[in-house]
């Protein structure tokens, strides 16, 4: 029983991890916490449906490809249209702008695709296969695999390549980075494009599992919790935080009360923010005067 709970919970955990990775990528790369990211995930899944409605008879995979391209453009639009003009604005304005972006995307799909849920195809079989005494669902495994794969790519990119170091330099010190020849605006643009594509990948994977409706983006808070739990600047922390949150929720849901499940994750969010704001794997922050 416990083994089965844990195996199933890893799927939910991987969903959280996938979204948390996007948050961390944007935050690590551009210094912005994107409160609309959960809605971008939802919007990505809707893009696939919209592509299929626009071109009758378009098969699933080409539709996904179109969705990925459109979301890349969306990422560029978000940066060029909003984050760049607001680069010198107060933190408060940036937070509100990112909340507003998410709300615009959510209300866009509500207005044009309706408030109700849409069916969304699974990428792999959802028939459970027994592996070593517990049941494993291939469709769920895909999510876990993709999360870890993306983590591996991002981790290598950030920690092992010159390009990744250039990104970190751009984020830490804009003037310094431009002195050594890093075009900060190009780096930020790229981050937004990559993170937006990542959101659509997450949306396509997650939509069949959850219910695809305009409010699916509220899952973003779980992604936040995972990111905060792991440490907002740490990519491995995002995955660790996601998996931990998934397991914790499954345990509380199974053994205590399913009604308390969500309340507990929000409680964890507050507790971590208060007690250990740098998260499990984050570095120490020193305020400079």
């Amino acid at each position: 029983m416990l083994a089965q709970v844990l195996v199933s919970s890893v799927t939910a955990g991987a969903v959280y991890a996938l979204i948390a990775l996007g948050f961390v990528l944007i935050h690590k790369g551009t210094g912005v916490v994107h409160f609309g990211y959960g809605d971008q995930v939802t919007f990505g899944a809707y893009l696939v449906l919209i592509a299929q409605m626009a071109v009758t008879g378009l098969p699933f995979w080409p539709a996904v490809f179109i969705a990925l391209v459109v979301s890349a453009l969306l990422g560029a639009l978000i940066y060029g249209g909003f984050m760049w003009p607001l680069r010198n604005a107060s933190l408060l304005a940036k937070i509100i702008a990112s909340l507003a972006l998410g709300t615009v995307l959510r209300e866009f799909v509500r207005a044009f695709m309706g408030p109700n849920a849409w069916p969304f195809p699974f990428l792999l079989s959802q028939t459970a296969v027994p592996v070593g005494g517990v049941l494993v669902v291939p469709a769920n495994l895909a999510i876990v695999g993709v999360s870890l794969g993306i983590l591996a790519i991002l981790f290598l990119l950030f920690e092992k390549t010159l390009f990744g170091k250039a990104i970190m330099a751009a984020c830490d010190n804009r003037i310094g980075a431009s002195l050594i020849g890093v075009r900060v605006s190009h780096v930020f643009l790229l981050i937004w494009v990559v993170a937006s594509v990542l959101a659509t990948v997450a949306g396509v994977l997650v939509a069949p599992l959850l219910t695809l409706s305009p409010d699916m983006g509220l899952i973003g808070i779980k992604g936040f919790t995972a990111a905060v739990l792991g440490g907002f600047n740490s990519l491995p922390g995002a995955v660790l935080g996601g998996i931990l949150l998934g397991i914790l929720e499954a345990l509380v849901g199974t053994y205590i009360s399913s009604a308390l499940k969500d309340m507990i994750s929000y409680g964890i969010l507050i507790a971590v923010i208060l007690i250990r704001p740098q998260g499990l794997l984050g570095g120490l922050l020193v305020k400079k005067v």
């Binding site: 916490v33 409160f35 909003f82 003009p85 607001l86 604005a89 107060s90 933190l91 408060l92 304005a93 937070i95 509100i96 702008a97 909340l99 507003a100 972006l101 709300t103 615009v104 959510r106 209300e107 866009f108 509500r110 207005a111 509220l218 808070i221 936040f224 919790t225 905060v228 907002f232 009604a259 308390l260 969500d262 309340m263 929000y266 409680g267 969010l269 507050i270 923010i273 208060l274 704001p277 005067v289």
Partner: protein, 317 residues
Amino acid sequence: MPLRPLLFAAAILAFFAAPQLLPEFYLFQICLIAGTALAVLGLVVVTGLAGQISLAQSAFVALGGYGASILAASWGVPLWAGIPVVAVVVAGLGFLLGQMTLRVAGHYLALATLAVTAIVQLALIHWEALTGGAAGMAVPPFEIMGRALTSGRELYYVIVPVTALFILTAQNLIASRFGRALTAIRQSETAAEAMGLDVLRYKAAAFAASAFLGAVAGGLLAPLSTYLDPAQYGITYAIYFLAIAVVGGMTSPTGAVIGSAVFVLLPNYLQAFQSYLGLVFALLLLGFIVLRPNGLSSLPWLRQAGALLHRTTGPKP
């Protein structure tokens, strides 16, 4: 200066004339604008002035509405007595929440207050015995001196004066040392603290004030809507208040009224586009924060009008 008593007299006249001249629909909407403005006024204090982002306003409004309604339904406490009592308790909660700002600011504060709203909403849904659960609960009528106020026309006489009182009080407090201190804290907490201000206490007090105003607003809006639905009091509602504050002008009490009027009245003119309403509001928020972050109340002609008023009512420079 005869302008000040003149304006005051005109306002009193307009207040008593409106119910004679306007139909119930508009009076109801005026009540809705006033109640919403009161909740937004809380955000003006904590976010606009003190610079502490709060997504908990939705939770405070919910606690005010549910608290007063439960007191009335279960213990027979009339709303006129229950609302202030609940508001004081919620203000205490706000003060405690404000203590968080010792350790938390910016993104993390936004997240933490977001979590508070989510927790309160879940509690309203799951604590069925008290709140009626996901189905919601009916609000007992607002009774005063043996008379039940049920329509917008009747509640008008309660909601509008209460809101006016708080708006005027807030304006005076903002012009005083309290507004000055919060403004300083918004611009540099480090410097404010180094100049001897107890920054944490001010921030916690700002949260308490926003909670108090939110709870009073919730308590007054409850009998107006006659029914409480927990689905309403989520994150979307918190962003709705934030949007009104931004569009009206984050640091201005009159901005709270202007913004509320825009958001309450706009749907009347968009009857044909009912399903696009959410999108219109979201685009308004996005457009204002990028293009005019100081909101409508910063428009030159409105600022001049405001300055004119202030010169006659405010302290001499």
